[in-house]
């Protein structure tokens, strides 16, 4: 398609404006993380630290149990991602291939679950987990994360399953393979990239999650990174900016790395979901 030169220049300018708007807070976070206290107290902060330092990172680790928190986050996110994918894949297979009432009910749940205010779910969950003595424990949090990650996992996986041609499965059925057998040895290998992408997305969601972790984890040694990060904030306005920025930056790194890997597939997964009838 032809676009005039002036219009083209305008487009580049607009795109640049968008990218500046989207990137500048992150660059400011980075800048703050490497500034010594003297510069942070200055009334004329600069974009590039005049005297960059790693002291903020050291102080962040001294002030809060960041390593423990990172470990808790890792276990919670890994556990949630693996379990969610293991149980969602078979269900997505049935939802994509069979138009039963059950499949319809499941699709309905995927949509409706997006509308729950979490507070309505978290109070009962809190009471139930308390009775099971799973409050303030990472396994309890994993259980909650699995169910919380399921709607989007199902949504993505149904799209991926639909993209696998049914002929292969039919051939397997003709050869006498049952449903489970077909899924395990025919469909699942073809789905592998989609399953990995879904799992990684569930990982990021759980790694980043805050509300459930805030309610369910009470003692500092059990808490995940997002909750521990809020401890840096302290009372209004007196936050120690340097260590706060350093810790926030470190907590984001794993999400960014994983996201970079699956970025294209996420777009594809949303596309598949959007196209479906």
């Amino acid at each position: 398609m032809k676009t005039g030169k002036g219009a083209r220049a305008g487009q580049y300018l607009a795109l640049l404006a968008y990218l500046v708007f989207l990137a500048f807070p992150f660059l400011w976070l980075l800048s703050t993380a490497f500034k010594p206290p003297r510069e942070l107290g200055s009334l004329h902060p600069t974009w590039i630290p005049e005297d960059p330092t790693l002291a903020n990172f050291r102080q962040a680790f001294d002030e809060q149990p960041l390593l423990d928190a990172a470990f808790n986050s890792l276990i919670a996110a890994l556990g949630a991602a693996v379990i969610a994918v293991l149980i969602a894949t078979p269900m997505a297979f049935v939802m994509a291939r069979h138009r039963t009432r059950l499949a319809k009910a499941a699709t309905g749940w995927v949509v409706v679950s997006q509308a729950f205010p979490f507070v309505l779910v978290i109070i009962p969950l809190f009471l139930v987990l308390k009775n099971l003595r799973l409050i303030n424990s990472v396994p309890g949090l994993i259980m909650v994360y699995v169910v919380w990650a399921l709607p989007f996992a199902l949504w993505m996986l149904v799209g991926y399953v639909r993209a696998v041609p049914t002929e292969l499965e039919e051939a397997a059925a003709v050869d006498g393979a049952g449903r489970v057998r077909t899924l395990v040895s025919i469909t699942a290998p073809l789905l592998a990239p989609g399953i990995v992408a879904t799992g990684l997305f569930a990982f990021i969601s759980a790694w980043n999650e805050f509300f459930f972790a805030l309610v369910l984890l009470k003692t500092p040694e059990k808490q995940t990174l997002p909750v521990v990060l809020t401890h840096f904030l302290g009372a209004e306005g007196v936050a120690d900016l340097g260590p706060l920025a350093a810790a926030a930056f470190l907590a984001t790194l794993p999400s960014l790395v994983v996201f970079a890997i699956i970025q294209k597939r996420i777009t594809g997964g949303m596309l598949a979901g959007a196209v479906k009838s």
Binding site: L15, I87, R101, L102, V112, V147, F210, F249, T267, A274
Partner: protein, 324 residues
């Protein structure tokens, strides 16, 4: 209060009986009356179905039931049914309705600009520009960040002394800047900007996916006939994009109305409750003051409002499906 307790006592017994009956009926496994499903399919569905019923559907029903009780944390006496007392109290709770109004303001204030900005970005990213892959990757970075980090990041930007916003204002000679997050007038707008920023990438990706479904040939034919960019957008792009746009704005509205972490980190509801979203209000009610029943009633009211919106969304979606 005495009148209320009296009413509570009198309704207690009948309430108990009726709910017992209804809970017995409720947890029947969905689809049992449907077409016979073979055992293989059941075997595949059960691992996900059981957690969904136990940890999502069950708690939701339990949560609705709690709204009709005086459930509190750390109480030794047994919880009692109190009928609609929580809802009657809620009706006169001006603090809650203030919070609800702020929630609606926030949800609309975030969703609308979010959609317009994301639409612009998606249209740009759909053009054949150089650096497009890089721009696409950069544009969705905020999606990958923990909400808590987004909140922290913007607190650094808004910081009255060491923040870049006030520094830029001072550099441009536009005054001394202000304390954005703690002054009554600017707190809500400042928080809304962060909301827009945080949700833009996801909306952009959804719209971009929709754009890639628009028929290219139609677009080119319209261009040949001399239709300008705006006309092409209105007659070719928008009709194809409409279902996706409807879906994503409805979902964004719901997500934004239920949002918690961003504002918790940015202002924790302050100053003077000016940014206290309903979720923050209900969270405090439940986990700071221990009023589980009352907080559950708030959740129910939120669900009721959201259900109306979701119904509109589904009707709109069905209509869009008929047109296609």
């Amino acid at each position: 209060m005495t009148l209320a307790t009296a009413r509570k006592r009198s309704t207690k017994r009948s309430m108990k009986r009726s709910t017992k009956r209804s809970t017995k009926r409720a947890p029947g496994v969905g689809g049992a009356g449907g077409r016979p499903v073979d055992h293989g399919a059941w075997f595949l569905v059960l691992p996900a179905l059981i957690p969904i019923l136990v940890l999502s559907v069950g708690p939701l029903l339990y949560g609705i039931a709690l709204a009709f009780t005086d459930s509190q944390s750390g109480r030794t006496e047994p919880t009692q049914w109190i009928g609609t007392l929580n809802f009657q109290d809620l009706l006169h709770d001006t603090l809650f309705w203030d919070s609800f109004r702020i929630g609606l303001l926030w949800a609309v204030g975030v969703t609308v600009p979010q959609f317009l900005l994301a639409l612009g970005l998606a249209l740009l990213l759909n053009e054949n520009l150089r650096f497009r892959p890089l721009a696409r990757a950069l544009a969705i970075i905020p999606w990958a960040m923990p909400e808590v980090v987004v909140g922290i990041m913007w607190r650094l930007v808004y910081n009255p002394d060491a923040g870049i916003l006030n520094e830029t204002i001072r550099d441009l000679g536009l005054g001394e800047g202000r304390n954005w997050l703690s002054s009554l007038a600017t707190a809500l707008p400042a928080v809304i900007v962060v909301g827009v920023w945080a949700g833009m990438p996801q909306t952009t990706v959804a719209l971009l996916a929709g754009l890639q479904n628009t028929p290219r040939e139609l677009h080119e034919a319209a261009a040949m006939d001399g239709a300008g960019a705006w006309r092409r957008f209105r007659t070719v792009t928008w009709p194809a994009l409409k279902p996706v746009a409807l879906a994503i704005t409805a979902l964004n509205f719901i997500w934004n109305f239920n949002s918690f972490a961003l504002v918790y980190v940015l202002t924790n509801g302050g100053p003077g409750g000016r940014t206290r979203l309903p979720m923050l209000f209900a969270y405090e009610e439940a986990f700071r003051y221990g009023q589980f029943g009352y907080a559950a009633a708030m959740g129910c009211v939120m669900v009721a409002v959201i259900s109306v919106i979701l119904a509109c969304y589904l009707v709109g979606r069905l209509k869009a499906g008929e047109d296609a």
